[in-house]
């Protein structure tokens, strides 16, 4: 079991190497001169050439890649050209915020999706099914930025029920222990700050997650219907097992497996989709960092964020695969 999971992790290494190569190569194709960008507009050609040599940009691309890869592996992502700070530090501040937002969105998508899937399964072949279909189709067809704007309009402006910018109420200071805001506020015992942070996350997390719920509902409903055709469900009924136990103890355990795999794939999309939502809600995460970096052609940040995105998605996929292996004895390779 563990060996199988480790083998699964090992398969990630070549993918990462390939992505780093593509990332580096693609950014080198852009007509951008990082040396010129890093100097004040008044700098002379000689000064820029000196900077280029100092940055190693005059050396062959393969050597540049090797240097970059070596530094990256050591955790040194270089300095931001625009903000003149180490990229590693910027990532350490913004990545936890994005992870918190994505996780919250995934929890919302998961709760809505699994609950809705069970509900739709209960409604199968009844009149309510068409209504549920329409609602979920509508949920799916709105893009996340439209959801974001709609939620701001309804809950932020019309009802003034929830905040929609930043992460905390004005005047609150954020405690820093692990950089994960929700965790830190609890660690230092500031429940009021924790709740403020939660209130600030509801709208962006909902906007990000809601469109991912309907596919979960549909897959869960479909695989529950398939599972109910299986012999072991009938055999359990013939043993006198009650319908509730059949659903929770037999059918769901099997039907959840394809649903989990789907959620793993979705989380990757969701993590990438956080960019727009972060911008709309002025949420200080990796998305905003990325948008600024692209605007300023800040190559070290773009490279580092791109690579981080890839690592997170691969980690999630591997994690979900591990979870599915844990839940499905047939995959445990015995």
């Amino acid at each position: 079991m563990l060996a199988a999971f480790l083998r699964r992790l090992l398969a990630v290494a070549p993918i990462l190497a390939l992505v780093s190569l593509l990332l580096f190569g693609a950014l080198r194709l852009l007509p951008i001169d990082p040396a010129a960008m890093s100097m004040p507009p008044t700098a002379t050609k000689v000064e820029i050439e000196a900077a280029r040599q100092a940055m190693g940009l005059d050396r062959p691309v393969t050597v540049q890649y090797a240097i970059w890869l070596g530094q990256t592996l050591r955790g040194d992502f270089g300095n931001s050209i625009h903000m003149r700070r180490p990229v590693a530090g910027l990532l350490a501040e913004t990545l936890p915020a994005t992870i918190e937002l994505s996780l919250a969105a995934m929890v919302i998508a998961g709760l809505l999706g699994l609950g809705g899937g069970l509900g739709m399964f209960a409604l199968r072949d009844r009149r309510g099914e068409a209504v549920a279909e329409t609602v979920t189709t509508l949920m799916m067809s709105l893009p996340e930025f439209l959801w974001a704007l709609l939620l701001i309009f309804v809950f932020g402006v019309l009802l003034s029920a929830l905040p929609f910018t930043g992460r905390l109420d004005p005047g609150m200071t954020r405690p820093v222990v692990t950089q994960f805001l929700l965790l830190d506020t609890l660690l230092v015992g500031r429940v009021d700050v924790f709740f403020s942070a939660v209130r600030h996350m509801i709208l962006p997390a909902f906007a990000l997650g809601v469109a991912f719920a309907p596919p979960i509902m549909r897959v869960l409903r479909a695989s529950l219907i398939d599972t109910y055709q299986e012999d072991y469900i009938r055999q359990a009924r013939l043993r006198g097992v009650g319908e509730t136990r059949i659903l929770l103890g037999h059918a769901l355990q099997n039907a959840i497996l394809p649903t989990l795999t789907l959620m793993g794939v979705q989380f990757g999309f969701l993590f990438g989709g956080s960019l727009l939502v972060e911008v709309i809600y002025s949420y200080p995460g990796m998305g905003n960092l990325m948008v600024d970096a692209v605007r300023n052609a800040d190559l070290p940040i773009i490279q580092a964020v791109g690579l981080t995105y890839c690592v997170v998605v691969l980690a999630i996929t591997a994690g979900v695969d591990g979870l599915v292996m844990l839940l499905n004895p047939r995959l445990r390779g015995t």
Partner: protein, 587 residues
């Protein structure tokens, strides 16, 4: 008091607005400790009784008349929670497909725990181990279903069914999915538990000989009606209803004189056809039928041996001619020669390699029929696939008509396809559902670039060969019956008139009367075209009927080979003897 009593029970399906009885006026009683066999081909309605007992009928089906009692309590009118209370406690069920009847993601122990806790057994673990012991299984509570064989899964399910000491166990084709030696063991185990606990068993099966071996009484069902009901040995030895008699004569025997198979025309009418039928439902196929049979429904009459037919005096006119033992065709010319053939499947992900076939040598003469028997996993299907080039051999030599065809090369492939064709087991998945029958049977010509007119002409010839009307050429496989589909499957292989047919379990899963039709077809086609046949089968009786020579395979090796009549009459290897002794009805 009887454990189970059905009185004029009718289960009705609504089809296109018309009510059709899938079970029509079933009456029977089952006393404590007795085993009643419910025998019939597919579509006879034999599973309906088990489903009616649990009230888990298919959608659209309902009990519309009569009554069904368990220990004096009305099962149909009973509240659902009361019935659920009986299930698993006083009524146990043993399923047809053991491998899929256990939840794949839960361990055997957790499924036992759920069942035994419901029965109110606190120390479920020791009770479960005792139950497993009663079916001669070790403690495998921590294992998962996929780690067990089909026979082990079925023993687990039997242990669960008998764990509550039920008054009634319903076993629906419990051994159909299992090998014949496993079947013998499972049946013996069920019989032991049933005797020890004085359980009444409703044993549902398509196999009349197996039922006769297991049951005290047998009821033969045809199209939803009991046509014959009596003591098991009497029904087997002296069947009095024409259907029972034809069914027995249609199944090849494993011992005794070799006879032709009785060829019942057509097949059992489906529910749709039943809606337009009156009188005796067997009349359209019955050799004794007369006009009166189609007008009134014959009543089930008699004391201990009841028969629903007024013409039992003529039952002895239904006979089949005796056949000489199958003889080796005397052409002598060698068509297939295989020497030292071996196949090893590499182990994936660090698993051990599997030796599927090891050091197999044999030859087949032109026009000769050779059978390969053995249980699942014996390597017989791999052997067929190696011969056809669907798998690449690991070692050894394969020669067709004197030429080496073991390789991947284009020349070897062409020669192989010209000489040998394969018929696959399951026509349902072997026939492309999007193509018409005419196109399917001439696929080989299409691949060779032959024009449409010529292909249509050949399709007509093939359909005539198969005994199928020409208008079926424009049908899709889904519009055919199971027997017709298997005919098309055979017809496709015959398109280029091969010298060798390789047939993998082509009659398993078919009803006995349909199987007899197909075996007769093969025998006739052989007389007309003179091809040789390598028949892979788990059914020894079919091989005995059809083949001159037989090879017995076990664990990838041929353990015994020889003339069929000699091997079956005087088996030399222990395994062959065990295999022959396991067949129901073996003398």
């Amino acid at each position: 008091m009887s454990v189970l009593r059905a009185e004029n029970l009718c289960v009705t399906a609504r089809i296109d607005g018309v009510d059709v009885a899938a079970l029509d006026g079933l009456s029977l009683t089952l006393a404590p400790g007795k085993v009643l066999g419910l025998v019939g081909e597919s579509g006879a309605g034999k599973s309906m009784l088990g489903r009616a007992i649990a009230q888990l009928l298919p959608p659209g089906f309902a009990v519309t008349a009569g009554m069904l009692e368990f220990a004096g309590r009305d099962l149909v009118a009973m509240a659902p929670d009361q019935r659920q209370n009986l299930l698993g406690r006083q009524i146990g069920f043993i399923p047809q497909e053991p491998l899929s009847a256990l939840n794949p993601v839960r361990s055997i122990g957790s499924q036992f725990a759920e069942h035994l806790r419901r029965l109110g057994i606190a120390d479920w673990r020791s009770a479960a181990i005792a139950a497993l012991e009663s079916v001669q299984l070790p403690d495998l509570l921590d294992r998962f279903p996929h780690q067990l064989s089909g026979g082990m899964c079925q023993r687990v399910l039997i242990a669960m069914a008998f764990a509550s000491k039920p008054a009634l166990v319903v076993a629906d084709e419990p051994t159909t999915a299992l090998d014949v030696t496993i079947q013998a063991r499972i049946v013996a185990l069920m019989r032991d538990l049933q005797v020890a606990q004085n359980t009444a068993v409703l044993f549902i099966t398509h196999d009349l000989r197996l039922a006769a071996q297991v049951c005290d009484e047998i009821a033969v069902l045809y199209a939803g009606r009991v046509v014959e009901h009596g003591p098991a040995d009497v029904v087997l030895a002296q069947p009095l209803h024409p259907y029972t008699k034809c069914l027995l004569l249609a199944a090849p025997a494993i011992s005794g004189p070799r006879t032709a198979l009785y060829a019942l025309p057509d097949q059992m009418p489906g529910l749709r056809a039943l809606a337009e039928m009156s009188g005796c439902r067997f009349a359209p196929r019955c050799p004794l039928a007369r006009d009166a049979c189609r007008e009134s429904v014959p009543a089930l009459a008699g004391d201990t041996h009841k028969i629903a037919c007024p013409h039992i005096a003529e039952i002895d006119t239904i006979t089949v001619p005796a056949l000489a033992p199958a003889m080796v065709a005397a052409t002598g010319e060698t068509l297939v020669s295989v020497a030292g053939l071996g196949k090893v499947f590499r182990g994936r992900f660090g698993r051990k390699p599997t030796i599927a076939v090891r050091d197999v040598s044999f030859s087949i003469a032109a026009g000769e029929f050779v059978g390969v028997v053995g249980e699942s996993g014996s390597g017989k299907s791999t052997l067929a696939r190696l011969l056809m080039g669907l798998e690449q051999k690991t070692s050894g030599e394969i020669r067709l008509a004197g030429q080496d065809v073991g390789g991947w090369g284009a020349a070897a492939r062409r020669l192989r396809l010209r000489t040998a064709q394969m018929v696959f087991q399951d026509p349902q998945s072997a026939l492309n559902p999007r193509r018409r029958v005419g196109a399917i049977v001439t696929q080989a010509l299409e691949a060779a670039g032959v024009g449409l007119a010529e292909r249509r002409a050949r399709a007509a010839e093939i359909l005539a060969d198969l005994g199928m009307p020409l208008e079926l050429a424009d049908r899709a496989p889904s519009q055919l019956s199971g027997g017709q589909r298997q005919r098309v499957n055979i017809g496709r292989a015959l398109c280029l008139v091969p010298k060798l047919l390789v047939a993998d379990e082509i009659v398993s899963g078919l009803d006995v009367s349909v199987q007899a039709q197909l075996l007769a077809l093969l025998a006739r086609l052989r007389a007309e075209h003179g091809f040789a046949l390598l028949l892979i089968s788990h059914d020894l009786a079919v091989v005995r009927y059809l083949c001159e020579r037989v090879m017995v395979m076990r664990n990838g090796e041929v353990v015994e080979a020889g003339r069929t009549d000699e091997v079956f009459a005087n088996p030399q290897h222990d395994y062959t003897r065990e295999l022959l002794a396991s067949v129901p009805g073996a003398a």
